[in-house]
Subunit: 336 residues, 2 copies
DNA sequence: ATACATTGCGCAAACGGTTGCTCTACGAGT
DNA sequence: ACTCGTAGAGCAACCGTTTGCGCAATGTAT
């Protein structure tokens, strides 16, 4: 049972009066800023603790012209596979925000529309914004820049002057493909992704890097980017089969599911007749048999990092324009 | 290109001064409350429009002791299939909130821990809370009740004195099963769900209702609740096959995917040898061939409804303790 | 013409904090 | 003993709104 509390909320004045000190003193005891005697501070803190006084963040915010909120902008319409990513990322952001006494104000964009963002900012509801990828090239960025309000993007962009936090997809893909090449696979098909997304470009580059490092020529015809719909995937898989690839690397787990289905229909067994690897080590594929080799990115850490960077910006500190986080190659049965 | 704005944000005093009126007048022009002449109001509004003045919500909130935020509590750890649901629901909540000039403060629970909720409430960050299901039976509810802060839950619970908004799962399941019975299926297997969840109980009841209405006896042995893990599902499917069912109804799409996989492995063709139906008309199953008959719930509307109810509560109005929303049976190839 | 509502508007006090400045008291350095 | 630096604490202004109340001007009924 939780304690019933019908008493009015305490204010700083109540505390001050009860203790026979001024509001100033109470405020200083709490914030730790300004000059205050040790004994007094402790007395105040003890009282506050005992009576469960919590400062009103609105009032505090008004006085400091801060909100102690950060805005997080999510795309409204996004494929299912990306949701776990967003969710984990949000968890990371939230944890970090809370640890610094911030809350997160969530909003979703309707396509390229900035209205929600503008609202948040103009209504003075947030001190900074985290933009989840896919916004990185449009009006949202422009708007935030014009308002010079601190913001970071999760995910890469080729936009200038934007603080980015992302995993190193290029290195990740390079390592994955290198490993596959080392396992004597030679014709590694690549499938999925959206060409205009920087992340796709990065991965593709990683793929090419791996081939180059290994001194093996690349076959353009086994690279199928811009293949997202099931029917397209089916065709691409078909094509890869006739091209005689020994492995298929999927750009994301949604694509992978369809690839697996398609291979299943064609009665092609994994990994005997075909190896498979995917990006994201998501729970969608988690229980698949055989288990699927994939890259793992820890979206939570990504969120944490993004939030930390944003906090630095809000505090007016310098930050790196680009923070690249690690990855992990999870080798499983599908490439055995 | 977005207009560059480096000018200081306008305050109500700026506007008042520029117009040669008092802050009061400006405030009244905006809010529409209080006595003010038509001409004056229009003059003020025109100026505001032209100079893009936006009131500081913090200050407004402080004056009214309101935050214009609502807290939305999401479970941190939830299965992937539920994410689309949460997402759509959030979209509904957000749209509605925004239309009433509220923003949403998102937080995730760590298990049964209320800390985030307590923070939100004690820090005066929200005017009300929406609890997404799975919280409906624990400390969260207790806490909110003790604070008597307005809140609603999305999803059902058998908790007392809690405002609930949910789809009518019982009716939905009843209708689905009735339709299947009408299509001459007799032994309809039920699989998945978590026994202690009220929603599972509702669905099960709907299933039973349908059988009763049709005057057909129910076979306990083809009902497999509490089956979530893949291995369990495999076994359950196996069991259902030996039991000779003509249809399998899945409690959610995650279960359904595994059921489909299992049936595929067993080379059982759908719908010829076995019919299949599922809850949720999610994109995970959206592209499946054959297309899967399922119930569709419109999570977005659910969010909208929940938010509206919460707004009523915040405004101090009476509301129904339970709002039940509709559903749709989507008949597809898997039950042809 | 007189009394009384009503309308339009402004004053100033909240709302609950923060913070620059001032004042006192005390300890140290000479 | 005198000066000075500094620590502890409080005053009061301020952050940007809202709102109860008062006051004048205008409209209306008598």
């Amino acid at each position: 049972m939780v304690e019933q509390s019908n008493e009015k909320k305490l204010t700083i004045s109540d505390v001050a009066e009860a203790l026979g000190v001024s509001k100033t003193t109470v405020s200083r005891a709490i914030s730790g800023k300004g000059r205050i005697g040790k004994a007094t501070r402790e007395r105040v803190l003890a009282y506050i603790e005992e009576h469960n006084y919590k400062p009103n963040v609105l009032a505090k915010g008004l006085a400091q012209l801060k909100t102690y909120n950060i805005g997080v902008m999510l795309p409204e319409d996004y494929t299912v596979v990306d949701l776990p990513f967003f969710q984990s990322c949000l968890v990371g952001i939230e944890e970090t925000a809370i640890s610094m006494d911030y809350d997160i104000l969530l909003t979703m964009s309707r396509g390229r529309d900035c209205a929600q963002l503008v609202r948040m900012v103009e209504n003075h509801k947030v001190d900074g914004v985290i933009l989840m990828r896919t916004f990185t090239e449009d009006a949202h960025v422009e708007y935030l820049k014009s308002q010079n309000i601190p913001f970071v993007t999760v995910g890469s962009s080729n936009y200038d002057g934007v603080i980015q936090v992302d995993n190193d997809h290029q290195a990740a893909c390079r390592e994955l493909v290198s490993i596959l090449l080392m396992k004597q696979m030679r014709r590694i098909g690549l499938i999925g992704g959206i060409e205009t997304h920087v992340v796709t470009q990065n991965r593709l580059q990683g793929y090419l890097d791996a081939y180059e490092q290994a001194g093996i020529p690349v076959s353009e015809e086994i690279i199928h980017v811009n293949v997202e719909k099931e029917i397209m995937i089916e065709r691409a898989v078909e094509k890869l089969l006739t091209e005689g690839v020994d492995c298929i690397v999927c750009m994301d787990d949604a694509v992978c599911i369809h690839v697996l289905n398609q291979l299943c229909k064609q009665k092609i067994s994994i990994p005997d007749q075909m190896k498979v690897a995917s990006f994201y080590d998501s729970s969608i594929l988690g229980n698949n048999i055989p288990s699927i080799t994939s890259l793992s990115f820890n979206a939570r850490e990504l969120g944490t990092a993004a939030c930390k960077v944003l906090m630095e910006l809000i505090d007016g500190n310098e930050v790196n324009p680009r923070t690249l986080l690690g990855y992990e190659v999870i080798l499983k049965d599908s490439t055995k």
